[in-house]
Structure formats: structure tokens, C-alpha cells
């Protein structure tokens, strides 16, 4: 049973496309159609604005990536205890974790972001203590609210994923660890956590892509990410399709890089029986 479950989530070399499989007739036709589309877009549409905005676009992509990685890492660090609490915790850990996941997953991210920024954030200045504190220069910026909202959202979704992953690690492996005389902490560090993360990796891959596509929401609270830069291009040049097509291309490239990076990482973990 154990090997079958792990086998299902691991990619074997045969699953990955080889150089030859790229040149099947249907693939060639699709590639030609896509190339024709790209050429038409490049030739018949207006791109003279692009050089002027390149530095800002680069900066915007960087902001988007920093948002993605910082919130994914922070969110995941929160998700591990949230998942663990739901699997093994006593009720006073289990219940808050469950409520947190349900509430955050049950409300739109945009709503949470605006509640934090326009709600909580505009309450702060009413307290002189906060306004005079060393935190105020950060609290009056927009990005801490963006990071907070995206982190909370990621933690809630991944808390639920990690709950399933922790619960799915076969009891036999944990019993074997116990039989070896491992302490609870060693067992968690060496067996339970690595096995759970390995099981959750394909899901986490998808969630990281979703997180990438949640980052443009921070543009609504004045953080200038790549989406905000493209909005600015649209407002200043009065063009609609060109900037949006470029934005789609940028997000597709970022997603592609993310998926390949995750896949490489998955393949590097040796799977017995795979």
C-alpha cells in the first residue's frame, strides 16, 4: 500500500516529454499556429511603448516575485503547525486551527486584503501610541498589508493540504520509527515531516501557481507590482490589448518556471519503487 501511494505522486522519466515526442505532426501544427499568432501580434500591434517601460516592468516583476516567495515561505511555515495541530493536537489547538482554515478559505482574498488595509490599517493612526512608535513607518506603507493578507491566505489553504499529508503518512512507518527508539521530535524531523512534504509536493506546486496569480490583488492597495505597471501602461497609452497580452505572457513564463522548478525538486527526491 505504501509504495503504491508514493508511486502515484512521483514522476518517472517516461512521463516527461522527450525531444522526439515534440515533433509529432499534431504538435508541429499547433506550434506553427502559435508562432503565426505571435508574429501577427508582434507585427500588427503597437509595441513602441515597450522600451520606455522596460525598467519599470522589470522592477514590477521583481516585486511580484518577492511577494510570491516571501508569502509562500512564511505561509508554509505557518501551515505546518496548523496542519499538525489538526491531526494530533488536543481540542484547544485543533479547534482554532480548523476555524482559521474555514474562515480564511471561506472568504475572498480581496475582501481580506481590503479589510486589513482599508479597515485595520486606517484604525491604527487613531492611536497616538502607534503613530509615534517605531513600527509606524512600516504600518503606513501598503506592502506589509499585502504580505500579511497573502501569507494568511496561503497558510490556511496549505494548512488544510498539510493536514491531509500528515494524516496520510502510513502509520507503519511511524511505528517503525518508534520501534527504532526515536524520540517524538526526531521521528517528526526525520520521518513524518519529510514524508508529508513529499506527498504534498504536487499539490503545493499547484498552490504556488495559484499564489502567483493572487499577487496582482496587491495592486489594489497601491503596491506597484507587474500588474500595476501594466495598468499604468494602459492608462498612459490608452492601449488595451497589447499590455494585457504582454502581462499574460509574463505570468505564463513565471508559471512555467515555477512548474519546472518544482518538478525538478520532486524528481530529486529518491522514491523507493519508482
Amino acid at each position: 500500500m505504501t509504495d503504491q501511494t508514493t508511486h502515484a505522486v512521483a514522476y518517472t522519466p517516461e512521463d516527461l516529454p522527450t525531444a522526439r515526442s515534440f515533433f509529432q505532426p499534431h504538435r508541429i501544427v499547433m506550434m506553427l499556429v502559435f508562432a503565426a499568432f505571435v508574429i501577427c501580434v508582434a507585427v500588427f500591434m503597437r509595441w513602441d511603448w515597450l522600451p520606455r517601460y522596460l525598467p519599470r516592468l522589470g522592477w514590477g516583476i521583481l516585486v511580484s516575485l518577492v511577494m510570491l516567495f516571501s508569502t509562500s515561505i512564511l505561509g508554509f511555515l505557518l501551515a505546518v503547525p496548523i496542519g499538525l495541530a489538526q491531526v494530533t493536537g488536543p481540542w484547544f489547538f485543533k479547534l482554532p486551527a480548523k476555524v482559521f482554515c474555514t474562515v480564511v478559505r471561506g472568504t475572498p482574498l480581496l475582501l481580506q486584503l481590503w479589510l486589513l488595509y482599508y479597515g485595520l490599517g486606517s484604525l491604527f493612526p487613531q492611536f497616538p501610541a502607534i503613530r509615534q512608535s517605531f513600527l509606524w513607518p512600516y504600518l503606513r506603507e501598503a506592502w506589509p498589508y499585502g504580505v500579511a493578507a497573502l501569507t494568511i491566505s496561503f497558510a490556511a489553504y496549505e494548512g488544510e493540504v498539510m493536514r491531509g499529508a500528515f494524516a496520510g503518512v502510513p502509520a507503519g512507518e511511524l511505528e517503525a520509527a518508534k520501534a527504532y527508539g526515536m524520540s517524538r521530535w526526531t521521528m517528526f524531523r526525520r520521518i513524518w515531516l519529510p514524508r508529508a512534504i513529499h506527498r504534498a509536493l504536487p499539490t503545493l506546486n499547484g498552490e504556488a501557481v495559484l499564489q502567483l496569480k493572487s499577487t496582482p490583488l496587491v495592486a489594489t492597495i497601491t503596491v506597484v507590482d507587474v500588474y500595476a505597471v501594466i495598468s499604468k501602461v494602459r492608462q498612459e497609452t490608452f492601449l488595451t490589448y497589447e499590455p494585457l497580452l504582454l502581462l499574460a505572457l509574463i505570468y505564463m513564463c513565471l508559471t512555467g518556471i515555477l512548474v519546472v522548478a518544482f518538478r525538478t525538486f520532486e524528481n530529486r527526491i529518491p522514491t523507493r519503487g519508482a
Binding site: 490599517g121 486606517s122 493612526p125 503613530r131 503606513r140 495598468s231 498612459e236 490608452f238
Partner: protein, 260 residues
């Protein structure tokens, strides 16, 4: 089967001709879909009112045009005009050289100074020197944004951009920006609200720059629609001459909003 097709074809024909008839009669006048008192703002029931709505009614009546007010997102209002989703823009849009590259304008129908408001108790002048080290908020795609970019951002002052004027005002009240630049009338309307009274006061008008701020506010039109433009210009002139303009303006302002 054939009968169904015939019915469908007739229905489609009626729908198409109906659509054409409707668009030939009523001109869609775009306004920014956000409250911008005292010019355009929806009341509690969602009906739009304000000085600019009265102006629209007066101009359209004078020019014998049927006009329908259509709310559009401000940052997409020019593409909405060029892609024929709307036929005119009457949304306090200033006539600028930058916009004239893409669209056309009627003659101006009002002109007001551009001002800066800021946190109460902090004294500064709306100049690059006075704003040094401060953050100023502006609405995107406005002459104020262009002005702030040219005069303030170039001098190293942080300029924050907002989709709506409302959000900029809220962030000023929340202390996230130190100042907000916008049309003086709109800012004074905000200062008259409870929120505005508590947080902020008027710091003064910004220095003139006609190249950026333009000669005033006009009706935005698609290029090449000279017939409509002539009708509107004649109507604006007519209501100025026959006193209609002053009659409804008096309800809102205690000075001549038309300017010089």
C-alpha cells in the same frame, strides 16, 4: 426546424434594428463610476446628480440630443470612448495635449484651480520644497498625476497613485500619505465632510503649469466627429449666453466656475 430558424432570423433582425435605432437616438455620456461631488455622485437610490449632471442635461437639451448617463471605470474611460462603448465623456476631464493625441474635446465648460490638502497641524506649502520628504497621493490618469510626476516625483518626492479620488482621500485620513493633490473644488467638498473636517485642511493652490493642467474641462469626443463637436460647442455657448449655466451653477458654487 426550418420554422424555428425563420423565427430566430426574424428575432435577430428585430434585435439588430432595435439596437441601431436605440444607438442612433441616445448618446451615451460616460462619467467615472465613483462619487466625485459636487460634480457627479450617485444619491442613495443610485440616481446620478451634481453640477455636471445638470450641465449635461442643459447642453443636451440645448443641442436637441438625447443623452444617457453611463458610469464607466475612470482608468478605462478613454478606451471606452474610442471603442464606442460610450459616445462622450463628461467627467471633469481636463483638456490636455496628451489626451488630444487620442481623443478630441469640445470647448471648455469649466476651469478651477488645482490644490493640495494635507494633514491638519502639519504646515507646508504645495511646492517641491514644501513637500520634500513627504508622500503625496493623486488619482491615476488625471492632470494632477501628470503634474505631480513632473514637478514632485522629479524632485524626489514619493507620489502614490490611486484608482479613485475616494481611496486617495481615505489614505490621507488614515495617515498613509501626507498630502493629496486634486481639483480644488473636489477637495473642498471632501474637507466639508466629517472625515475631512477632522483630519485635514487646505494647504494652497499649486503653481500654474498650463502645458500639463490644460485650459480647463471639456467634453471628450472621438476624433473626427466634428458635427457633434460643433453642436456641443454651440450649446455650451448658448447656455452661457442665456443664463441657464449661471442659474444651476449658483446652486453649487458661490463664484464663477467657468473661470477666465
Amino acid at each position: 426546424m426550418k420554422k424555428t430558424l425563420k423565427v430566430l432570423a426574424v428575432a435577430a433582425a428585430i434585435a439588430v434594428s432595435g439596437g441601431i435605432a436605440a444607438s442612433a437616438e441616445a448618446l451615451k455620456v460616460g462619467v467615472a463610476a465613483e462619487p466625485y461631488p459636487p460634480f457627479t455622485a450617485p444619491d442613495a437610490s443610485g440616481k446620478w446628480e451634481g453640477w455636471e449632471v445638470e450641465l449635461m442635461n442643459a447642453v443636451c437639451a440645448e443641442a436637441k440630443l438625447e443623452c444617457v448617463l453611463t458610469p464607466v471605470a475612470w482608468d478605462g474611460i478613454i478606451p471606452a470612448l474610442t471603442s464606442k462603448k460610450i459616445d462622450m465623456i463628461m467627467s471633469s476631464m481636463s483638456i490636455t495635449d496628451e489626451r488630444l493625441k487620442t481623443i478630441d474635446f469640445s470647448d471648455k465648460y469649466y476651469n478651477t484651480p488645482t490644490g493640495v490638502i494635507g494633514t491638519k497641524g502639519v504646515d507646508f506649502k504645495p511646492t517641491p520644497e514644501g513637500l520634500a520628504g513627504k508622500t503625496i497621493g493623486v488619482q491615476v490618469s488625471t492632470v494632477h498625476q501628470a503634474y505631480a510626476a513632473k514637478h514632485f516625483a522629479a524632485a524626489g518626492i514619493e507620489v502614490k497613485e490611486y484608482q479613485t479620488q475616494d481611496e486617495a482621500n481615505n489614505d490621507l485620513a488614515a495617515g498613509r500619505v501626507d498630502a493629496v493633490q486634486a481639483d480644488a473644488i473636489a477637495l473642498k467638498a471632501f474637507l466639508a465632510t466629517d472625515q475631512g473636517k477632522e483630519c485635514c485642511d487646505y494647504k494652497g493652490d499649486v503653481a500654474e503649469d498650463v502645458a500639463v493642467i490644460g485650459p480647463g474641462v471639456g467634453v471628450g469626443l472621438r476624433k473626427g466627429e466634428t458635427e457633434l463637436k460643433d453642436k456641443l460647442n454651440a450649446a455650451i455657448k448658448a447656455i452661457r449666453d442665456n443664463g441657464t449655466y449661471d442659474t444651476f451653477s449658483k446652486k453649487y458654487f458661490d463664484f464663477d466656475i467657468y473661470g477666465e
